[in-house]
Amino acid sequence: MRVGNVILAELDKLRTLPAVLLTAVATVGAAAGIAAAFAAGDGGPGAAESVTDVTLRMVPYVQAGLVLLGSLPAAHEYADGQIRATLTAVPERGLLVAAKSVAAATAVTLTAAAATGAGAAAAALTWWRAGAPPAAGGGGGGALLGATAYLALIGLLSYAVALLVRHLIPVLVGVLSLVLIGSPLLAAVTAHARWLPDRAGSQLYAPTDPVLTAATGGLVLLVWTVAVGVGAWVRFVRADP
Protein backbone atom coordinates (compact mmCIF):
# COMPACT_ATOMS: atom_id res chain seq x y z
CA MET A 1 0.00 0.00 0.00
CA ARG A 2 1.45 3.31 -1.00
CA VAL A 3 1.84 5.96 1.70
CA GLY A 4 0.88 8.66 -0.75
CA ASN A 5 -2.47 7.01 -1.40
CA VAL A 6 -3.28 6.72 2.29
CA ILE A 7 -2.37 10.36 2.90
CA LEU A 8 -4.50 11.45 -0.04
CA ALA A 9 -7.38 9.34 1.26
CA GLU A 10 -7.12 11.03 4.67
CA LEU A 11 -7.10 14.42 2.97
CA ASP A 12 -10.14 13.32 0.95
CA LYS A 13 -11.90 12.51 4.19
CA LEU A 14 -11.23 15.98 5.55
CA ARG A 15 -12.16 17.67 2.32
CA THR A 16 -15.52 15.88 2.16
CA LEU A 17 -16.50 16.41 5.79
CA PRO A 18 -18.70 19.51 5.88
CA ALA A 19 -17.79 20.26 9.50
CA VAL A 20 -14.12 20.65 8.55
CA LEU A 21 -14.74 23.15 5.79
CA LEU A 22 -17.24 25.05 7.90
CA THR A 23 -14.87 25.31 10.83
CA ALA A 24 -11.98 26.43 8.64
CA VAL A 25 -14.01 29.10 6.91
CA ALA A 26 -15.54 30.31 10.18
CA THR A 27 -12.11 30.50 11.80
CA VAL A 28 -10.65 32.55 8.96
CA GLY A 29 -13.72 34.78 8.96
CA ALA A 30 -13.53 35.27 12.70
CA ALA A 31 -9.83 36.12 12.43
CA ALA A 32 -10.58 38.81 9.89
CA GLY A 33 -13.52 40.16 11.86
CA ILE A 34 -11.72 40.28 15.19
CA ALA A 35 -8.59 41.86 13.75
CA ALA A 36 -10.74 44.46 12.04
CA ALA A 37 -12.55 45.12 15.32
CA PHE A 38 -9.27 45.66 17.13
CA ALA A 39 -8.03 47.94 14.39
CA ALA A 40 -11.23 49.96 14.37
CA GLY A 41 -11.35 50.20 18.12
CA ASP A 42 -7.81 51.44 18.60
CA GLY A 43 -7.04 53.01 15.28
CA GLY A 44 -7.05 56.58 14.16
CA PRO A 45 -4.19 58.95 13.64
CA GLY A 46 -1.33 58.48 15.98
CA ALA A 47 -2.17 54.84 16.63
CA ALA A 48 0.82 53.28 18.25
CA GLU A 49 0.36 49.85 16.75
CA SER A 50 1.36 48.26 13.52
CA VAL A 51 -0.68 45.84 11.48
CA THR A 52 1.29 43.02 13.02
CA ASP A 53 0.53 44.08 16.58
CA VAL A 54 -3.18 44.23 15.92
CA THR A 55 -3.19 40.93 14.09
CA LEU A 56 -1.44 39.20 16.96
CA ARG A 57 -4.14 40.28 19.36
CA MET A 58 -6.71 38.14 17.60
CA VAL A 59 -4.65 34.96 18.06
CA PRO A 60 -5.98 34.01 21.54
CA TYR A 61 -9.53 34.25 20.20
CA VAL A 62 -8.97 32.40 16.98
CA GLN A 63 -7.18 29.49 18.62
CA ALA A 64 -10.56 28.06 19.64
CA GLY A 65 -11.36 27.48 15.99
CA LEU A 66 -8.09 25.64 15.52
CA VAL A 67 -8.82 23.52 18.59
CA LEU A 68 -12.11 22.44 17.03
CA LEU A 69 -10.58 21.90 13.60
CA GLY A 70 -7.75 19.84 15.01
CA SER A 71 -10.08 17.51 16.89
CA LEU A 72 -12.24 16.69 13.89
CA PRO A 73 -9.96 14.33 11.90
CA ALA A 74 -9.76 11.85 14.75
CA ALA A 75 -13.08 12.43 16.54
CA HIS A 76 -15.27 12.04 13.46
CA GLU A 77 -13.96 8.51 12.89
CA TYR A 78 -15.64 7.33 16.04
CA ALA A 79 -18.93 9.08 15.41
CA ASP A 80 -20.71 6.59 13.17
CA GLY A 81 -18.44 3.61 13.35
CA GLN A 82 -16.39 4.85 10.42
CA ILE A 83 -13.32 3.61 12.23
CA ARG A 84 -14.22 0.08 11.18
CA ALA A 85 -14.29 1.04 7.49
CA THR A 86 -11.00 2.84 7.99
CA LEU A 87 -9.32 -0.08 9.72
CA THR A 88 -10.45 -2.63 7.14
CA ALA A 89 -9.18 -0.41 4.33
CA VAL A 90 -5.87 0.37 6.05
CA PRO A 91 -5.17 -2.33 8.66
CA GLU A 92 -1.59 -1.20 9.16
CA ARG A 93 -2.27 1.15 12.04
CA GLY A 94 1.11 2.83 12.25
CA LEU A 95 0.77 3.85 8.64
CA LEU A 96 -2.78 5.03 9.26
CA VAL A 97 -1.85 7.24 12.21
CA ALA A 98 1.08 8.71 10.30
CA ALA A 99 -1.06 9.51 7.27
CA LYS A 100 -3.88 10.92 9.39
CA SER A 101 -1.40 13.08 11.27
CA VAL A 102 0.01 14.46 8.02
CA ALA A 103 -3.48 15.27 6.79
CA ALA A 104 -4.44 16.92 10.08
CA ALA A 105 -1.21 18.93 10.11
CA THR A 106 -1.92 20.09 6.57
CA ALA A 107 -5.44 21.18 7.44
CA VAL A 108 -4.48 23.12 10.59
CA THR A 109 -1.44 24.73 8.98
CA LEU A 110 -3.39 25.93 5.96
CA THR A 111 -6.16 27.29 8.17
CA ALA A 112 -3.69 28.93 10.55
CA ALA A 113 -1.89 30.63 7.68
CA ALA A 114 -5.16 31.75 6.11
CA ALA A 115 -6.40 33.08 9.44
CA THR A 116 -3.23 35.05 10.14
CA GLY A 117 -3.19 36.39 6.63
CA ALA A 118 -6.86 37.31 6.71
CA GLY A 119 -6.42 39.01 10.05
CA ALA A 120 -3.49 41.09 8.85
CA ALA A 121 -5.31 41.99 5.65
CA ALA A 122 -8.47 42.96 7.52
CA ALA A 123 -6.56 45.14 9.99
CA ALA A 124 -4.64 46.85 7.21
CA LEU A 125 -7.82 47.38 5.22
CA THR A 126 -9.65 48.85 8.21
CA TRP A 127 -6.91 51.35 8.84
CA TRP A 128 -6.55 52.20 5.17
CA ARG A 129 -10.26 52.95 4.92
CA ALA A 130 -10.07 55.09 8.02
CA GLY A 131 -7.25 56.97 6.37
CA ALA A 132 -4.88 56.31 9.23
CA PRO A 133 -1.54 54.86 8.27
CA PRO A 134 -0.41 52.35 10.85
CA ALA A 135 2.88 52.59 12.62
CA ALA A 136 5.70 50.62 11.12
CA GLY A 137 7.70 47.93 12.78
CA GLY A 138 6.36 45.82 15.63
CA GLY A 139 7.96 42.55 14.68
CA GLY A 140 6.72 42.37 11.14
CA GLY A 141 6.66 39.14 9.26
CA GLY A 142 8.52 37.14 11.86
CA ALA A 143 5.82 37.56 14.47
CA LEU A 144 3.11 36.71 11.97
CA LEU A 145 4.92 33.51 11.06
CA GLY A 146 5.18 32.78 14.75
CA ALA A 147 1.45 33.31 15.16
CA THR A 148 0.76 30.91 12.31
CA ALA A 149 3.06 28.35 13.89
CA TYR A 150 1.38 28.73 17.25
CA LEU A 151 -2.12 28.31 15.83
CA ALA A 152 -1.06 25.28 13.81
CA LEU A 153 0.61 23.65 16.82
CA ILE A 154 -2.38 24.25 19.07
CA GLY A 155 -4.53 22.60 16.42
CA LEU A 156 -2.11 19.69 16.27
CA LEU A 157 -2.17 19.35 20.06
CA SER A 158 -5.96 19.11 19.91
CA TYR A 159 -5.62 16.47 17.20
CA ALA A 160 -3.39 14.40 19.45
CA VAL A 161 -5.77 14.72 22.40
CA ALA A 162 -8.75 13.81 20.21
CA LEU A 163 -6.95 10.74 18.88
CA LEU A 164 -6.35 9.65 22.46
CA VAL A 165 -9.74 10.49 23.89
CA ARG A 166 -11.94 9.72 20.85
CA HIS A 167 -14.91 11.87 21.89
CA LEU A 168 -15.29 15.41 20.63
CA ILE A 169 -16.91 17.22 23.55
CA PRO A 170 -14.41 16.19 26.26
CA VAL A 171 -11.57 17.27 24.00
CA LEU A 172 -13.13 20.67 23.33
CA VAL A 173 -14.02 21.31 26.95
CA GLY A 174 -10.69 20.01 28.22
CA VAL A 175 -8.34 21.81 25.86
CA LEU A 176 -10.27 25.09 25.93
CA SER A 177 -10.55 25.02 29.73
CA LEU A 178 -6.84 24.40 30.01
CA VAL A 179 -5.81 27.08 27.57
CA LEU A 180 -8.33 29.77 28.43
CA ILE A 181 -9.00 29.24 32.15
CA GLY A 182 -6.40 26.97 33.68
CA SER A 183 -3.44 28.62 32.04
CA PRO A 184 -4.10 32.21 33.16
CA LEU A 185 -5.02 31.04 36.67
CA LEU A 186 -1.84 29.02 36.98
CA ALA A 187 0.25 31.85 35.57
CA ALA A 188 -0.95 34.07 38.39
CA VAL A 189 0.20 31.53 40.93
CA THR A 190 3.57 30.36 39.73
CA ALA A 191 6.18 31.34 37.20
CA HIS A 192 6.49 27.68 36.31
CA ALA A 193 3.28 28.07 34.34
CA ARG A 194 5.53 29.13 31.49
CA TRP A 195 5.98 25.43 30.74
CA LEU A 196 2.32 24.94 29.96
CA PRO A 197 1.83 24.23 26.24
CA ASP A 198 -0.09 27.35 25.34
CA ARG A 199 2.01 29.72 27.46
CA ALA A 200 5.25 28.36 26.08
CA GLY A 201 3.82 28.39 22.58
CA SER A 202 2.72 32.01 22.89
CA GLN A 203 6.40 32.98 22.92
CA LEU A 204 6.28 32.24 19.22
CA TYR A 205 4.41 35.46 18.60
CA ALA A 206 4.77 37.37 21.87
CA PRO A 207 8.25 36.71 23.26
CA THR A 208 7.97 38.29 26.71
CA ASP A 209 9.27 35.50 28.89
CA PRO A 210 12.76 35.82 30.42
CA VAL A 211 13.49 32.11 30.23
CA LEU A 212 11.93 30.93 26.97
CA THR A 213 12.71 32.35 23.57
CA ALA A 214 10.36 32.08 20.60
CA ALA A 215 12.17 28.99 19.37
CA THR A 216 12.36 27.22 22.71
CA GLY A 217 8.76 28.11 23.50
CA GLY A 218 7.61 26.62 20.24
CA LEU A 219 9.70 23.57 20.97
CA VAL A 220 8.02 23.09 24.35
CA LEU A 221 4.60 23.18 22.70
CA LEU A 222 5.82 20.68 20.12
CA VAL A 223 7.11 18.38 22.84
CA TRP A 224 3.75 18.46 24.61
CA THR A 225 2.05 17.59 21.31
CA VAL A 226 4.43 14.73 20.58
CA ALA A 227 4.06 13.38 24.11
CA VAL A 228 0.27 13.24 23.88
CA GLY A 229 0.63 11.98 20.32
CA VAL A 230 2.77 9.05 21.39
CA GLY A 231 0.19 8.08 23.99
CA ALA A 232 -2.53 8.33 21.37
CA TRP A 233 -0.46 6.32 18.88
CA VAL A 234 0.14 3.54 21.37
CA ARG A 235 -3.52 3.33 22.27
CA PHE A 236 -4.58 3.36 18.63
CA VAL A 237 -2.17 0.67 17.50
CA ARG A 238 -2.53 -1.71 20.38
CA ALA A 239 -6.07 -1.38 21.67
CA ASP A 240 -9.40 -2.31 20.14
CA PRO A 241 -11.20 0.64 18.59
Binding site: A37, A40, A64, G81, L172, L176, I181, L186
Partner: protein
Protein backbone atom coordinates in the same frame (compact mmCIF):
# COMPACT_ATOMS: atom_id res chain seq x y z
CA UNK B 1 -49.55 12.33 32.22
CA UNK B 2 -48.62 13.66 35.59
CA UNK B 3 -45.96 16.29 35.33
CA UNK B 4 -44.11 14.94 38.30
CA UNK B 5 -43.37 11.78 36.34
CA UNK B 6 -42.04 13.68 33.35
CA UNK B 7 -39.75 15.65 35.63
CA UNK B 8 -38.64 12.55 37.46
CA UNK B 9 -37.85 10.90 34.13
CA UNK B 10 -35.67 13.78 33.00
CA UNK B 11 -33.87 14.01 36.33
CA UNK B 12 -33.17 10.29 36.19
CA UNK B 13 -31.88 10.53 32.62
CA UNK B 14 -29.48 13.30 33.57
CA UNK B 15 -28.30 11.49 36.68
CA UNK B 16 -27.48 8.39 34.65
CA UNK B 17 -25.68 10.17 31.82
CA UNK B 18 -21.91 9.63 32.01
CA UNK B 19 -21.28 12.98 30.33
CA UNK B 20 -23.05 14.75 33.19
CA UNK B 21 -20.88 13.08 35.78
CA UNK B 22 -17.83 13.78 33.68
CA UNK B 23 -18.67 17.47 33.53
CA UNK B 24 -19.43 17.67 37.25
CA UNK B 25 -16.28 15.79 38.19
CA UNK B 26 -14.16 17.89 35.87
CA UNK B 27 -15.50 21.16 37.23
CA UNK B 28 -15.14 20.04 40.83
CA UNK B 29 -11.63 18.66 40.46
CA UNK B 30 -10.55 21.67 38.46
CA UNK B 31 -11.93 24.03 41.08
CA UNK B 32 -10.20 22.09 43.84
CA UNK B 33 -6.90 22.13 41.96
CA UNK B 34 -7.09 25.87 41.31
CA UNK B 35 -8.08 26.57 44.92
CA UNK B 36 -5.23 24.46 46.21
CA UNK B 37 -2.65 26.20 44.08
CA UNK B 38 -3.98 29.61 44.95
CA UNK B 39 -4.15 28.80 48.64
CA UNK B 40 -0.64 27.43 48.81
CA UNK B 41 0.70 30.51 47.07
CA UNK B 42 -1.35 32.80 49.32
CA UNK B 43 -0.08 31.08 52.43
CA UNK B 44 3.49 31.35 51.19
CA UNK B 45 2.96 35.05 50.55
CA UNK B 46 1.52 35.46 54.04
CA UNK B 47 4.42 33.73 55.67
CA UNK B 48 6.96 35.70 53.69
CA UNK B 49 5.22 38.94 54.51
CA UNK B 50 4.40 39.64 50.90
CA UNK B 51 0.66 39.46 51.31
CA UNK B 52 -0.06 42.62 49.33
CA UNK B 53 1.96 41.44 46.34
CA UNK B 54 -0.09 38.30 46.08
CA UNK B 55 -3.40 40.07 46.07
CA UNK B 56 -5.89 38.60 48.43
CA UNK B 57 -5.10 36.16 51.21
CA UNK B 58 -8.75 35.64 51.96
CA UNK B 59 -9.61 31.95 51.69
CA UNK B 60 -12.94 32.88 50.17
CA UNK B 61 -11.35 34.95 47.39
CA UNK B 62 -8.84 32.27 46.58
CA UNK B 63 -11.58 29.68 46.28
CA UNK B 64 -13.94 32.00 44.43
CA UNK B 65 -11.33 32.51 41.72
CA UNK B 66 -12.28 29.06 40.46
CA UNK B 67 -15.87 30.09 39.67
CA UNK B 68 -15.24 30.17 35.90
CA UNK B 69 -14.72 26.43 36.03
CA UNK B 70 -18.06 25.99 37.74
CA UNK B 71 -19.63 28.06 34.97
CA UNK B 72 -18.02 25.75 32.40
CA UNK B 73 -19.51 22.81 34.26
CA UNK B 74 -22.93 24.44 34.08
CA UNK B 75 -22.52 24.98 30.34
CA UNK B 76 -21.58 21.33 29.85
CA UNK B 77 -24.65 20.27 31.81
CA UNK B 78 -26.93 22.55 29.81
CA UNK B 79 -25.53 21.27 26.53
CA UNK B 80 -25.45 17.61 27.36
CA UNK B 81 -29.01 17.15 28.64
CA UNK B 82 -30.28 17.98 25.16
CA UNK B 83 -27.40 16.97 22.88
CA UNK B 84 -27.54 13.45 24.31
CA UNK B 85 -31.00 13.15 22.77
CA UNK B 86 -29.58 13.81 19.34
CA UNK B 87 -26.55 11.54 19.45
CA UNK B 88 -27.43 8.92 16.89
CA UNK B 89 -26.91 5.27 17.58
CA UNK B 90 -24.73 3.46 15.14
CA UNK B 91 -26.44 2.63 11.91
CA UNK B 92 -26.42 -1.06 12.74
CA UNK B 93 -28.27 -0.41 15.97
CA UNK B 94 -30.99 1.24 13.92
CA UNK B 95 -29.43 4.68 13.61
CA UNK B 96 -32.05 5.96 15.97
CA UNK B 97 -31.77 8.90 18.29
CA UNK B 98 -33.08 9.03 21.80
CA UNK B 99 -35.23 12.04 20.97
CA UNK B 100 -37.67 9.75 19.19
CA UNK B 101 -38.09 7.63 22.30
CA UNK B 102 -38.43 10.67 24.52
CA UNK B 103 -41.11 12.19 22.36
CA UNK B 104 -43.12 9.00 21.97
CA UNK B 105 -43.06 8.45 25.70
CA UNK B 106 -44.03 12.05 26.35
CA UNK B 107 -45.54 13.82 23.38
CA UNK B 108 -45.99 17.08 25.26
CA UNK B 109 -42.91 18.81 23.98
CA UNK B 110 -43.01 21.96 26.05
CA UNK B 111 -43.30 19.91 29.19
CA UNK B 112 -40.31 17.81 28.17
CA UNK B 113 -38.27 20.92 27.53
CA UNK B 114 -39.38 22.52 30.77
CA UNK B 115 -38.46 19.36 32.66
CA UNK B 116 -35.02 19.43 31.10
CA UNK B 117 -34.58 23.08 31.97
CA UNK B 118 -35.57 22.36 35.55
CA UNK B 119 -33.05 19.52 35.58
CA UNK B 120 -30.31 21.95 34.54
CA UNK B 121 -31.38 24.45 37.21
CA UNK B 122 -31.50 21.81 39.93
CA UNK B 123 -28.14 20.44 38.87
CA UNK B 124 -26.35 23.77 38.88
CA UNK B 125 -27.99 25.01 42.05
CA UNK B 126 -26.83 21.92 43.85
CA UNK B 127 -23.34 21.61 42.38
CA UNK B 128 -22.28 25.27 42.38
CA UNK B 129 -22.78 26.06 46.08
CA UNK B 130 -21.49 22.62 47.03
CA UNK B 131 -18.33 23.19 45.02
CA UNK B 132 -17.84 26.59 46.59
CA UNK B 133 -18.36 25.17 50.05
CA UNK B 134 -15.77 22.48 49.49
CA UNK B 135 -13.22 24.79 47.90
CA UNK B 136 -13.59 27.48 50.57
CA UNK B 137 -13.16 24.77 53.16
CA UNK B 138 -9.97 23.64 51.47
CA UNK B 139 -8.71 27.21 51.26
CA UNK B 140 -9.40 27.82 54.94
CA UNK B 141 -7.56 24.62 55.73
CA UNK B 142 -4.47 25.71 53.87
CA UNK B 143 -4.40 29.43 54.59
CA UNK B 144 -6.05 29.44 58.01
CA UNK B 145 -9.28 31.17 58.96
CA UNK B 146 -7.54 34.18 60.44
CA UNK B 147 -6.71 35.76 57.11
CA UNK B 148 -10.36 36.05 56.07
CA UNK B 149 -11.26 39.54 54.87
CA UNK B 150 -14.66 38.79 53.38
CA UNK B 151 -17.61 38.95 55.75
CA UNK B 152 -20.06 36.09 55.96
CA UNK B 153 -22.91 38.10 54.49
CA UNK B 154 -20.74 39.21 51.58
CA UNK B 155 -19.61 35.63 51.03
CA UNK B 156 -23.14 34.28 50.98
CA UNK B 157 -24.30 37.06 48.64
CA UNK B 158 -21.48 36.43 46.23
CA UNK B 159 -22.08 32.70 46.40
CA UNK B 160 -25.71 33.23 45.48
CA UNK B 161 -24.74 35.68 42.76
CA UNK B 162 -22.23 33.30 41.26
CA UNK B 163 -24.71 30.42 41.40
CA UNK B 164 -27.33 32.54 39.66
CA UNK B 165 -24.85 33.47 36.93
CA UNK B 166 -23.88 29.84 36.44
CA UNK B 167 -27.52 28.73 36.36
CA UNK B 168 -28.52 31.35 33.81
CA UNK B 169 -25.49 30.53 31.66
CA UNK B 170 -26.34 26.83 31.82
CA UNK B 171 -29.89 27.61 30.72
CA UNK B 172 -28.64 29.77 27.85
CA UNK B 173 -26.39 26.90 26.76
CA UNK B 174 -29.40 24.60 26.97
CA UNK B 175 -31.63 26.86 24.88
CA UNK B 176 -29.02 27.40 22.17
CA UNK B 177 -28.30 23.69 21.96
CA UNK B 178 -32.02 22.99 21.51
CA UNK B 179 -31.95 25.36 18.55
CA UNK B 180 -28.72 24.12 16.97
CA UNK B 181 -29.06 20.42 17.93
CA UNK B 182 -25.33 20.29 18.36
CA UNK B 183 -23.44 21.31 21.44
CA UNK B 184 -20.26 22.40 19.71
CA UNK B 185 -21.12 26.03 19.00
CA UNK B 186 -22.63 26.85 22.42
CA UNK B 187 -19.70 25.16 24.12
CA UNK B 188 -17.13 27.14 22.18
CA UNK B 189 -18.85 30.49 22.53
CA UNK B 190 -19.88 30.18 26.17
CA UNK B 191 -16.57 28.82 27.41
CA UNK B 192 -14.72 31.57 25.62
CA UNK B 193 -17.08 34.19 26.99
CA UNK B 194 -16.31 33.26 30.58
CA UNK B 195 -12.62 33.89 30.07
CA UNK B 196 -10.39 36.80 29.13
CA UNK B 197 -10.88 36.05 25.44
CA UNK B 198 -14.53 36.91 25.66
CA UNK B 199 -16.19 37.82 22.39
CA UNK B 200 -18.66 40.01 24.24
CA UNK B 201 -15.86 41.95 25.85
CA UNK B 202 -14.40 42.50 22.40
CA UNK B 203 -17.70 43.88 21.20
CA UNK B 204 -17.68 46.49 23.98
CA UNK B 205 -14.75 48.08 22.17
CA UNK B 206 -16.99 48.67 19.22
CA UNK B 207 -20.20 49.64 20.95
CA UNK B 208 -21.28 50.19 24.55
CA UNK B 209 -24.47 48.30 23.72
CA UNK B 210 -22.45 45.14 24.15
CA UNK B 211 -22.75 45.62 27.90
CA UNK B 212 -26.33 44.46 27.51
CA UNK B 213 -25.25 41.02 26.29
CA UNK B 214 -26.18 38.37 28.86
CA UNK B 215 -22.73 37.38 30.04
CA UNK B 216 -21.53 40.95 30.43
CA UNK B 217 -24.76 42.15 31.99
CA UNK B 218 -24.51 39.56 34.68
CA UNK B 219 -20.81 39.74 35.46
CA UNK B 220 -21.25 41.97 38.48
CA UNK B 221 -23.17 39.13 40.10
CA UNK B 222 -19.77 37.85 41.08
CA UNK B 223 -19.17 40.86 43.26
CA UNK B 224 -15.64 41.63 44.23
CA UNK B 225 -13.39 43.87 42.16
CA UNK B 226 -14.47 45.43 38.91
CA UNK B 227 -11.92 45.06 36.16
CA UNK B 228 -13.93 46.47 33.28
CA UNK B 229 -15.66 49.84 33.33
CA UNK B 230 -19.11 50.57 32.13
CA UNK B 231 -22.07 48.27 32.08
CA UNK B 232 -24.82 47.55 34.52
CA UNK B 233 -24.91 47.33 38.28
CA UNK B 234 -25.50 43.89 39.81
CA UNK B 235 -29.28 43.98 40.17
CA UNK B 236 -30.18 45.51 36.79
CA UNK B 237 -27.56 43.25 35.26
CA UNK B 238 -29.16 40.19 36.79
CA UNK B 239 -32.54 41.24 35.46
CA UNK B 240 -31.17 41.75 31.95
CA UNK B 241 -29.40 38.39 32.00
CA UNK B 242 -32.55 36.69 33.23
CA UNK B 243 -34.48 38.42 30.47
CA UNK B 244 -32.11 37.05 27.85
CA UNK B 245 -32.37 33.57 29.33
CA UNK B 246 -36.15 33.65 29.37
CA UNK B 247 -36.30 34.94 25.79
CA UNK B 248 -33.97 32.23 24.53
CA UNK B 249 -35.90 29.54 26.38
CA UNK B 250 -39.18 30.76 24.89
CA UNK B 251 -37.70 30.76 21.37
CA UNK B 252 -36.24 27.30 21.94
CA UNK B 253 -39.61 26.06 23.15
CA UNK B 254 -41.45 27.52 20.17
CA UNK B 255 -39.03 26.03 17.66
CA UNK B 256 -38.86 22.68 19.41
CA UNK B 257 -42.60 22.22 19.50
CA UNK B 258 -43.02 23.02 15.83
CA UNK B 259 -40.23 21.33 14.01
CA UNK B 260 -39.59 17.66 13.23
CA UNK B 261 -37.73 15.99 16.05
Amino acid sequence: MRYGRILAGELHKAATLPAVWGGVAGALLGALAVTLLNSVAARAALENGRAEAWGSTSPFENAYAAMPLTVVGAVVLGVVVISSEYTANRADAGGGRQIATTLTVTPYRIQVLAAKAITVVVGVMVIAPATLLVTVGLARLVIGGGAETVSVTAAVTRCLGGTLYATLTGLIAFAVTVLTRSGILPLLVLIMNSTLVSGSLLLTKLTPLAHWLPDLAGRRLFGGLDTVDGGLAPLPGAIVMSGWTLALLVIAGAVFSRRDA
